[in-house]
């Protein structure tokens, strides 16, 4: 038994939630507590299994570990091939942790505005967990694609059934957007498959693609490699999301129930970044180098544009309500945080545009930190929403006085999100910026600017995002928590124990990793080094 666990650690982490979901299907509907406990256990087991995973993980190696490999569909040479390295281990941990936290955060599901049964909800949630973990572990492109699509389905229903007033629109939009991306990914995947030749047969083996990236380049030609890269890029960019493919995100976030928002921001967005790193970059490194300046520009646009849209929520955005035909002023706290995600993912992009050790470490670390910090922020928004039943920034005021703990925790997480040194977010953002600043390509001109300055100027522009971030976070904090107390909320209760259980772990991690970031970065630094030298940007000096 023990041996079975050690040999199939990853598979267990992936599929235990699925098994749990199946078991829950057979629990009668009225056994609510049992359903909840069963799902809690199903989410707890992967989290507990992460302990031996971390223990046995050898961070000194850049190789894939915990590899499991078996034939799946032999005729097409499709394999069940999973394994993790530095780029994915943090994501597996993040998924396990956030999923577990979200089950606890869903405990009060009976009191939600939309109560459509709890069995389906928890089943779908666990199914989602399996899909997400699978994406981060799959080393076979076909398997990756299956997990990728598996995520789509439960997410669609979770938003569409348990969401807010415009849930159907938001869910449909999310679904179609991602589907368009999937289709592009599918096309490139098939193209790769039919041009591959592993021992005389076609293959979906991602590592084979990576090892034979130069072969793919010669057989496709640089033009078609770029087409392939862009196809994958759009597919992943929709998930990240990268401007202009981001508009599904504010709607999905605003309509999704709190735990689903947490997963959406905490894990789903990372699937996009991860896909870019693991597949686009590794299969088409040459195109990645060509694409780097565009990536840089997109990163800067994401950071500034996202921050501006966040800031707009404070003044309020006039918007035509299609159903009533009236102009409403939208001042949604959740939307503010949703757009701040767009801004924060921009840091990942500039780190990835540079592909220096600092840049990629920053990007991978930012994936983790954003998951923790923004996950916590969505939980915090949910706490207030559960009490006030609205999120209008302008209708609160002075809440820190009756809610000292809630106000204090929110302050810390806001500070973490705006990149206060000493907290985790600062380290990753600083690394991304440093990475972007290290990039320098004097032989080329971009937008009429020498490559020697292009990256530096854009990084400088990105740094403005830090000022804007301080602006919208502090201002919304001021509107909601400071000033004299809005008497409407004089009797509001402070954060409950259950809510504390969901948020405090994230708070502790945020502070701890700000002081000791190497706890996390050591896990992936060697994989990052290998990755950086594999891509080999012109400014990377060997040795």
């Amino acid at each position: 038994m023990n041996e079975f666990i050690t040999n199939h650690l990853l598979s267990l982490i992936i599929f235990v939630p699925l098994i749990g979901a199946t078991v829950i299907l057979f629990i009668p509907n009225n056994q609510r507590l049992l359903i909840k406990i069963a799902s809690l256990v199903s989410a707890a087991i992967p989290l507990l299994l992460c302990y031996p995973l971390l223990n046995e993980y050898n961070s000194a190696s850049a190789q894939f570990q915990f590899v499991e490999r078996a034939n799946w569909i032999e005729y097409f040479n499709i394999e069940y091939y999973i394994g993790i390295d530095g780029l994915s281990i943090s994501m597996v941990l993040l998924t396990a942790m956030l999923s577990f936290i979200c089950i606890i955060a869903s405990w009060n599901i009976e009191h939600w505005k939309v109560n459509k049964g709890i069995k389906g909800y928890f089943c779908l949630f666990l199914l989602l967990q399996t899909g997400m973990t699978g994406v981060f572990c799959a080393l076979d492109f076909f398997l990756f694609y299956v997990f990728w699509e598996l995520v789509l389905l439960p997410m669609y229903f979770l938003i569409g059934i348990w969401g807010g007033p415009r849930r159907e629109y938001a869910a449909m939009k999310f679904f179609l957007y991602t589907l368009v991306g999937s289709v592009l990914m599918l096309v490139v995947m098939l193209a790769l498959y039919f041009t591959s030749n592993k021992d005389g047969a076609f293959t979906f083996d991602l590592l084979w693609y990576k090892e034979n990236a130069s072969k793919i380049l010669t057989s496709w030609g640089s033009k078609w490699v770029m087409v392939g890269f862009v196809g994958l890029f759009i597919g992943f960019a929709i998930k990240v999301p990268i401007f202009p493919f981001h508009t599904w995100l504010p709607d999905a976030h605003v309509e999704a129930p709190t735990p689903v928002s947490v997963i959406l921001a905490g894990v789903l967005l990372k699937m996009g970044v991860y896909g870019l790193l693991r597949i686009s970059y590794c299969v088409f490194p040459d195109a990645a180098i060509q694409f780097s300046p565009i990536m840089m520009i997109l990163g800067a646009v994401n950071i500034i544009y996202g921050a501006m849209c966040s800031m707009a929520q404070i003044r309020g955005v006039p918007r035509l309500d299609k159903s009533t035909g009236q102009m409403t002023i939208e001042q949604d706290w959740k939307k503010l945080i949703a757009y701040s995600s767009v801004s924060h993912m921009g840091y990942c992009l500039i780190g990835m545009a540079a592909v220096t050790t600092a840049g990629i470490t920053g990007a991978v670390f930012e994936m983790w930190n954003h998951g923790i910090i923004t996950g916590a922020l969505f939980l915090l928004v949910g706490v207030l929403y559960d009490r006030a039943h609205h999120r209008n920034i302008n209708e609160f005021g002075g809440l820190w006085a009756p809610m000292p703990y809630y106000g204090g925790i929110t302050a810390v997480m806001f500070m973490a999100s705006l990149g206060l040194p000493g907290l985790a977010g600062f380290i990753s953002e600083a690394l991304c910026l440093i990475g972007g600043f290290q990039a320098s390509d004097p032989t080329n001109y971009y937008l009429g600017i020498s490559g020697a300055y292009f990256y530096k100027i854009l990084t400088g522009i990105c740094a403005i995002g830090v000022v804007l971030g301080a602006g919208y976070f502090l201002w919304s904090y001021q509107r909601i928590f400071l000033g004299s107390l809005n008497t409407k909320y004089a009797g509001i209760s402070d954060i409950s124990t259950r809510e504390l259980i969901t948020i405090v772990p994230l708070l502790i991690i945020t502070i701890l990793l700000g002081i000791q970031p190497t706890l996390m970065t050591d896990l992936f630094i060697n994989s990052v080094k290998e990755f950086v030298s594999f891509i080999g940007m012109p400014w990377i000096t060997t040795g």
Partner: protein
């Protein structure tokens, strides 16, 4: 205790105090909170003093540093947590912990009735900890952690009374303004830091943010340096200092910061945090000294700020606002000194300013406390009889800031003026004149404040009382320091003439950290001492004369002919109003930057809703519509039997749908059809032979 442990203890003790007061403070009672809150800082002071005695006064008098703790470690970007104490640091440490201890003790009395007493102490403990990190961090990044950390504490403490019925909103907005304006400065600082980092890395292959290593690289490659680039770095770093130390154009947050409790204004917004920018420039003297243009910028910004803020100080009626503008002005003085290469004089003035300005702020706090929260000097007057100790200490500090010998302010201010005058830099004489004018105005508005507050008849309605012992104790100590604090820096010229020894101990002490000034290099004339000293004496006389005339003018206008100030104000209404309203700088920033930024953010979001999202919706809508026509075509063209089956499937499918709006099947089919189309197009273009072969092998072709 070894030096290593002592260094960490100096920082960690206040941090422990922070944790204790934050987490346990509301359960343990005010006595224990104040005991812990003050105790940790006092012990930090004792430890600092011990380090000072053992490592600097005796023995080799060399810098000490702690062990390194691994912090960020990413191949070519490594930052360790290392504490480093040299002569400059130890001076700052003594000021921060020493003045800090006094202000902590004072706070026990001042904040006694506050409902968030424990939170107050936890914040100022945290502040002390971050401030110490700022000055003790060996790496620029560690310094930056402290730099932002003190900004956070400043934010929290300015908005400390965030739920006040009347002022809650303006208090919290003031805190926010401070943080955001500082962030603008930090943006400049960060960019400067990154340029420096990558420049040294690319050119000399030294990837480091360690201040000592940067110093080494700069020293060993002095001839190979790219001076224009370093000038840009210096100006960008100075931009950060402009934010933290409230210089033009980023000074606007400091007057508003007076919304915080008065001891906070004394500690953070006068004595310590706001001087961090001066400290930073002094710390990087080795780069600044190489860039005359950057120095000129620093000198001019400093001098302009000094004069500009002093003129505003003349017209204000809020006792704390007067002191706030005075602080801005005095900080300008310090930068003026840095800009003429007199870094040691700047630090000297930083120290004496910490004494007398803390004393002034705490005195104003005592006045506010005694008059029941009154801050308008028009409603004060005659307090000298009712609050004698506050009066005497306030008066001493006022004389000190005005620059009357032998009080502390005289020596430091005179040193700056002399260094400016004797500087080789082109701007030297100009900033000297501005400095002299500022000295005159400073003496004037400070005595105006003194006369209006403590002399004449009481114009308020409150029962005035002297403050409790914990408060006046700090006043007495600080007033004493305001008198004697300058004696460690009596100019050598004077000392040699009178007692035939070098008396400027301060300069000789700091020489070891800031050698550039001693060497003089391009910055100072190295003339014969004799010629030097006679000029120095003349200038001393001039500055004393200037100060006295400022005092006399204040006496004449506010004690003798009290009707004149109002007349002057009414005869130049535009000028007076412009100055009284602080030159409308806040309004200008609001309409030129803040409002346009917010408006454009709203426009961006509307663009996002209408253009970006709108086009997405349009595509979805038109695809849906056109698929209807395709569907119609399909229905009419395809066999009726097939149609029937399809309809059957469609209706059962409809029942299975969970969503009412479900067009999902249609969308799915569009997706599949379009993906096949895309593939077909790609195929026809690429003519992948293998694809063909594969399809042939399946028997499809």
């Amino acid at each position: 205790m070894g030096t290593n442990n002592m260094l960490f203890a100096v920082i960690l003790l206040p941090f422990a105090g922070f944790l204790f007061n934050l987490l346990a403070g509301s359960f343990v009672g005010k006595k224990l909170v104040s005991l812990v809150g003050c105790g940790v800082v006092i012990i930090s002071f004792i430890l600092s003093a011990q380090i000072f005695m053992s490592s600097f006064l005796q023995g080799a008098s060399t810098a000490v540093q702690s062990n390194s703790i691994r912090w960020i470690d990413v191949l070519d970007f490594n930052v360790d947590i290392t504490l480093y104490v040299d002569h400059l640091t130890i001076v700052m440490m003594l000021v921060v912990t020493g003045v800090g201890s006094l202000i902590h003790i004072y706070s026990v009395g001042y904040m006694h009735d506050d409902k968030r007493f424990n939170r107050y102490f936890s914040y100022i403990n945290l502040f002390t900890s971050f401030m110490l990190l700022l000055i003790m961090g060996k790496s620029l990044l560690l310094m930056f952690v402290g730099w932002e950390g003190v900004g956070l504490c400043s934010y929290l403490l300015i908005g400390f009374w965030f739920d006040d019925k009347e002022k809650g909103i303006s208090n919290s907005l003031a805190g926010m303004k401070a943080f955001i304006v500082n962030r603008v400065g930090d943006l400049s600082f960060t960019i400067g830091l990154m340029i420096l980092f990558t420049y040294l890395g690319e050119k000399f292959n030294v990837w480091t943010l360690d201040i000592l290593k940067i110093k080494d690289v700069v020293a060993t490659n002095e001839t190979a340096l790219n001076i224009p680039l370093l000038t840009a770095v210096c100006i960008l770093l100075f931009g950060g200092a402009c934010g933290k130390s409230a210089q033009i154009p980023l000074y606007v947050w400091l007057p508003d910061a007076m919304a915080g409790p008065t001891p906070v204004s004394a500690l953070i917004h006068a004595a310590t945090m706001v001087t961090a920018g001066v400290y930073m420039v002094a710390r990087f003297n080795f780069i600044f000294a190489l860039c005359p243009t950057a120095l000129a910028v620093v000198a001019l910004v400093g001098a302009t700020t000094a004069l500009f803020a002093a003129t505003i100080g003349m017209t204000q009626f809020d006792i704390k606002k007067v002191l706030a503008y005075s602080t801005v002005s005095q900080l300008g003085y310090m930068f003026l000194a840095c800009g003429v290469g007199a870094f040691i004089a700047a630090i000297f003035h930083l120290v004496t300013h910490a004494f007398f300005k803390a004393c002034l702020f705490l005195g104003s706090g005592s006045v506010i406390h005694g008059t029941g929260g009154e801050q308008d000097i028009r409603h004060m007057g005659g307090l000298r009889k009712k609050m004698p100790i506050t009066f005497i200490t306030f008066a001493i500090a006022t004389i000190a800031i005005a620059g009357i010998p032998p009080l502390a302010g005289f020596f430091s201010k005179d040193e700056i003026l002399w260094k400016a005058f004797s500087s080789n830099l082109a701007v030297g004489k100009l900033v000297w004149i501005i400095g002299l004018i500022t000295a005159f105005i400073t003496a004037f508005y400070m005595f105006r404040l003194l006369f209006l507050t403590f002399f004449g008849d009481y114009r308020g309605h409150h029962h005035v009382h002297e403050s409790p012992f914990t408060m006046v104790f700090a006043l007495i100590v600080l007033a004493t320091l305001s008198v004697i604090g300058g004696w460690v820096g009596i100019p050598d010229a004077l000392g040699e003439k009178v007692i035939h020894t070098q008396t400027n101990k301060f300069e000789h002490f700091l020489d070891k950290s800031i050698p550039h000034e001693a060497k003089s290099g391009p910055l100072h004339k190295e003339n014969s001492h004799e010629h030097h000293s006679s000029a120095e004496f003349i200038l001393m006389g001039v500055s004393i004369l200037v100060a006295l005339s400022g005092i006399f003018l204040a006496y004449y206008l506010y004690m003798k002919k009290k009707e004149i100030p109002a007349k002057i104000a009414s005869s130049f209404p535009e000028l007076y109003n412009t100055i009284y309203n602080k030159y409308f700088v806040d309004e200008a920033y609001s309409s030129a930057i803040v409002q346009p930024l917010i408006a454009s953010s709203v426009q961006t979001c509307r663009f996002d809703n209408t253009a970006v999202d709108g086009s997405v919706n349009t595509i979805a809508y038109s695809t849906g519509n056109s698929s209807k026509y395709v569907g119609v075509f399909d229905n009419n063209a395809v066999d009726a039997a097939v149609n029937g089956v399809a309809n059957e499937v469609y209706s059962t499918g409809g029942q299975l749908r969970l969503l009412q709006s479900g067009n999902i099947k249609m969308y799915l089919s569009i997706a599949v059809v379009s993906s096949i189309l895309i593939m077909a197009v790609l195929w026809s273009i690429l003519e992948w032979k293998q694809v063909k072969d594969f399809l042939v092998s399946l028997g499809l072709l």
